[in-house]
């Protein structure tokens, strides 16, 4: 394996808007807000940014194609802007582009920004779009994201002989936890704690997922400026630096959709990307070494399966860890300390950078006591885009 980019890139500054139903804000407003905060945090001037990567997913209702949106919204001075689109990994892909730009020596300072304006869709849930090409659009099922991810639960239950009642209970704990954490976070979309009984009694969206098993659909933007450790030290001589330890991406090979060995209970991509990321970051035992995580809890069952796919919970044992409080804010590995997609919200291409924003601030110890993770060393972020049968996974690990 190539040596990777561990410790070659530093996050110099970050910004993140409040996520939510930002009815009065255009995507330009969201991008400008995230960028302004980020630039101020980085302590540099705009003209020092040499290249930018823009993550955005839905062409239909968001910012269109290409990189022009970012150049024009932020008035970037004719620098290269590359748009990254890779489903829900689009934001982390923008971050990867910027990090590789710096690590390669092509640029000293680079920008990554993710933005998504979903609330101009006109209906709940994500916009209906031919995400897998025209043939699939004509022959694939009349499906939505909750329905596709819901199948993880039926397949997981069959694969590990875990009764659906226990899965429902663990999923309810996941959503309860995210609501607890989101309630403490002023930037989160949904800020109301919800009792477990209400979660279990909620109307069904896609069997077995109820309303509270599904994440918020939100508007928002998040942004990072990255540079080399040397330059960062010069700009911020008296501050801890958050270093990039690993970034890995894995994309379905067709094994899940076409080959019947896959049992549908978890994501092959997450298993591969996390193994590669631990290797790049030099992590031997993730269950012991990872301090905290922001994972892709688009649906509570996704978070449940992801705990195993990240090689932290034993196969078939995620429910036990979840119900034991292992992933609670005061547990061994706090998962979703900012409320997660569930409550912080999920503007697709902003989510990866939003997760990094949380890890960055946690690592620097900048959060109020009630939601500050104690002495974190490694923070992991995880995005999962597409559907379990054909998906994209990105993992980033950052640390001090």
């Amino acid at each position: 394996m190539a040596e990777g980019i561990r410790d070659k890139v530093v996050i110099l500054g970050m910004g993140c808007t409040k996520f939510g139903e930002r009815w009065s804000d255009a995507p330009e407003d969201l991008a400008v807000d995230a960028f302004t905060e980020c630039l101020s945090d980085a302590g540099i001037e705009k003209k020092e940014i040499e290249a930018a990567w823009l993550g955005s997913h839905f062409d239909e209702i968001n910012v269109g194609k290409g990189g022009n949106f970012l150049g024009m919204a932020l008035k970037l001075p004719l620098i290269p802007v590359t748009r990254t689109e890779n489903f829900c990994a689009s934001g982390t892909e923008a971050f990867r582009g910027a990090c590789y730009g710096v690590a390669s020596g092509a640029y000293d300072i680079a920008l990554a920004l993710g933005v998504e304006k979903l609330k101009d869709t006109g209906y709940g849930g994500l916009p209906d779009s031919p995400a897998f090409g025209q043939q699939y659009a004509m022959i694939g099922p009349n499906a939505t994201a909750p329905g596709m991810f819901a199948q993880l639960a039926t397949a997981y239950s069959a694969a590990y002989k875990v009764p659906m009642e226990k899965i429902k209970e663990a999923m309810a704990h996941i959503s309860w936890k995210s609501h607890q954490n989101g309630a403490n976070n002023p930037r989160a979309h949904l800020r109301k704690p919800i009792p477990v009984e209400q979660i279990l009694g909620a109307p069904m969206i896609a069997y077995p997922l109820g309303l509270f098993d599904c994440c918020g659909v939100s508007d928002g933007s998040a942004c990072a400026i990255v540079t080399t450790p040397k330059i960062a030290k010069k700009i911020k001589p008296n501050q801890d630096l958050v270093k990039v330890k690993a970034i890995q991406v894995s994309v379905s090979s067709g094994e899940e959709a076409l080959y019947t060995d896959w049992d549908g209970s978890g994501m092959l991509t997450t298993r591969r990307a996390s193994s590669k990321a631990y290797e790049e970051a030099g992590i031997k035992n993730p269950r012991e070494e990872i301090s905290m995580m922001e994972v892709h809890d688009c649906f509570s069952i996704t978070e449940l399966a992801t705990m195993e796919d990240l090689h932290i919970s034993e196969p078939g044992k995620a429910c036990d860890d979840i119900l034991d409080g292992f992933y609670d804010l005061n547990g061994k590995i706090p998962c979703q300390p900012d409320g997660g997609l569930k409550c912080f919200g999920h503007p697709i291409a902003a989510s990866g950078l939003r997760m990094l924003f949380e890890m960055y601030n946690q690592l620097l110890g900048l959060w109020p006591e009630e939601r500050q993770v104690k002495n974190p060393k490694f923070g992991l972020t995880h995005n999962l885009g597409g559907i379990p049968n054909q998906n994209v996974c990105s993992i980033a690990i950052v640390g001090l």
Binding site: M138, N142, A143, G147, L258
Partner: protein
């Protein structure tokens, strides 16, 4: 010997009790009470004459080498296209060769038997063999009309050939009359009819005896020669008087299925014929008569081979596969007789890209995947590079048809968010029994009928209807195999 080699039937799973209709619409025409007996078969929201004809044709062709089928004739007065040959859709669903004869028959309710005579003539002439004739109808009466109560949906298919004949063709006789008892103009969705007394007395009452006398005279036969006499007539009283007039005895009568299916239009005489064949014994002579814009009459004699034909669903098997549709408004919605709100998600555009469809027509119509010649892995849709991680060869596959083998549920859900006129959208991953997997919509079921590992059949269905462009698009869906079926 030329005649019928095989038969197949299809009656949709949902049955609407006529009193449910009368309960909603009886107020507008209380005399409809006379027609409100029994139940009618109703095509599901994703069924139409093409899908029902495909189902009957598949039942008929079950166990036959598809490469030996020489043609498909589709007969219906409710084809989903005026221009686009529905027979090609049925042939596609059967995964047949494409160097075959295909034709649509329509215009009259007798078109099913007219297609059958054409196929018999064709096989007799030696220009084609093993032609599947599939008739289906899904006619609509306006809300509150007698037709709404009388009509039912269904399909029946007969394979015509010259070997292994189960019922030998002995001759036919036809009439053509511009007797407009029912009609639909080129823009009409609903049937219109003239006064019922006129239809009963001057239509059925005269043309059925006319054609029966005609064929008996032509071939020197008497009605008493026939074990069964089949003719459509949805008036119970007219049927009685015609039977009496012609001397048709009770044991010669084949039930019209009016109480359990309804008048299935072009498929009606064919459905009765399939039912008769299901119960026939060698040596039985059957008189098959159709009605509508004239009549066809055909004589068949059942042979010893009738016992060699493997069991199929036919009519009886389909009648047992049933579920109540207890909601009249749902019926109206399924038939697009009323406009319902499926949310803004339901207003998103569906694009039918015809060039893509032609390129992939074996995939989409015939559910044809690929099988790796190096490792045997089956894949759907077809792949150029083998997906088996330990194989991966390029361009070494052969086609494999996956529609007949069925499959097993690998995962499933029931989705209230997806836009549908029949929510919830039920779908999931199906592993084909022949190998490979795909994500299918499930139909003719509720989520309670599903479990990981439970068996499904694949059924050719309407995938979507694009109202803007009047496009009915078809693909395959998975149907849980009912307990005890087959």
């Amino acid at each position: 010997m030329v005649g019928i080699r095989s038969y197949g039937g299809y009656v949709p799973r949902y049955r609407l009790n006529r009193m449910v209709i009368f309960g909603s619409m009886g107020w507008i025409n209380p005399a409809n009470m006379l027609n409100a007996q029994g139940e009618k078969a109703v095509a599901n929201f994703d069924e139409d004459s093409v899908t029902m004809a495909a189902a009957a044709a598949a039942d008929c062709a079950k166990g036959f080498n598809r490469d030996l089928i020489g043609g498909v004739y589709f007969a219906s007065t409710t084809a989903s296209y005026k221009e686009r040959l529905c027979a090609n859709l049925v042939a596609g669903a059967l995964a047949m060769r494409e160097d075959v004869r295909t034709a649509d028959f329509g215009g009259a309710l007798k078109c099913g038997t007219t297609a059958l005579i054409s196929a018999l003539d064709c096989v007799s002439a030696g220009t084609a063999n093993n032609i599947v004739v599939s008739a289906a109808d899904c006619r609509l009466g306006t809300m509150g009309s007698p037709q709404e109560l009388m009509f039912g949906d269904g399909a029946a298919a007969l394979m015509v050939g010259d070997t292994d004949i189960i019922a030998e063709f002995k001759g036919s006789f036809s009439t053509g009359h511009d007797f407009v008892d029912h009609f639909r103009g080129s823009e009409s969705k609903y049937d219109r009819q003239w006064e019922e007394r006129w239809i009963r007395d001057e239509g059925f009452g005269k043309f059925i005896p006319e054609v029966i006398s005609g064929i008996c005279d032509k071939y020197g036969m008497a009605l008493s020669d026939f074990a069964k006499v089949i003719y459509p007539c949805y008036f119970g009283s007219a049927r009685k008087s015609i039977n009496k007039k012609l001397g048709i005895e009770p044991d010669q009568v084949v039930d019209s299925l009016q109480a359990v299916v309804g008048d299935a239009g072009a498929a009606q005489p064919m459905l009765m014929m399939v039912k008769a064949l299901e119960e026939a014994k060698p040596g039985d002579k059957i008189l098959l008569v159709s009605y509508g814009s004239g009549c066809d009459a055909l004589i068949f004699e059942v042979t010893d081979k009738i016992h060699e034909l493997k069991p199929r669903r036919g009519v009886l098997g389909n009648l047992n596969r049933r579920a109540d549709l207890d909601n009249y408004a749902k019926y109206l919605t399924w038939r697009r007789m009323v406009t319902v709100d499926t949310g803004l998600r339901g207003e998103e555009q569906k694009w039918t890209r015809w060039s893509l469809m032609w390129r992939a027509h074996r995939t989409m119509l015939s559910l044809e995947g690929s099988k790796c010649k190096a490792c045997g892995t089956v894949q759907f849709p077809p792949q150029r590079i083998c997906v088996n991680p330990s194989c991966g060869v390029t361009d070494q596959s052969e086609p494999i048809v996956l529609s007949e083998g069925g499959g097993k549920v690998a995962s499933f859900t029931s989705d209230m968010l997806a836009a549908s006129i029949n929510p919830p959208a039920i779908y999931g991953s199906v592993n084909f029994n022949l190998g490979g997997r795909f994500l299918f919509d499930f139909t003719d079921c509720t989520v309670d009928d599903l479990a990981v590992g439970s068996p499904v059949d694949l059924s050719f269905r309407v995938k979507y209807y694009d109202a803007l462009r009047d496009i009915t698009d078809y693909f395959w869906k998975a149907v849980p195999v009912a307990e005890g079926a087959e």
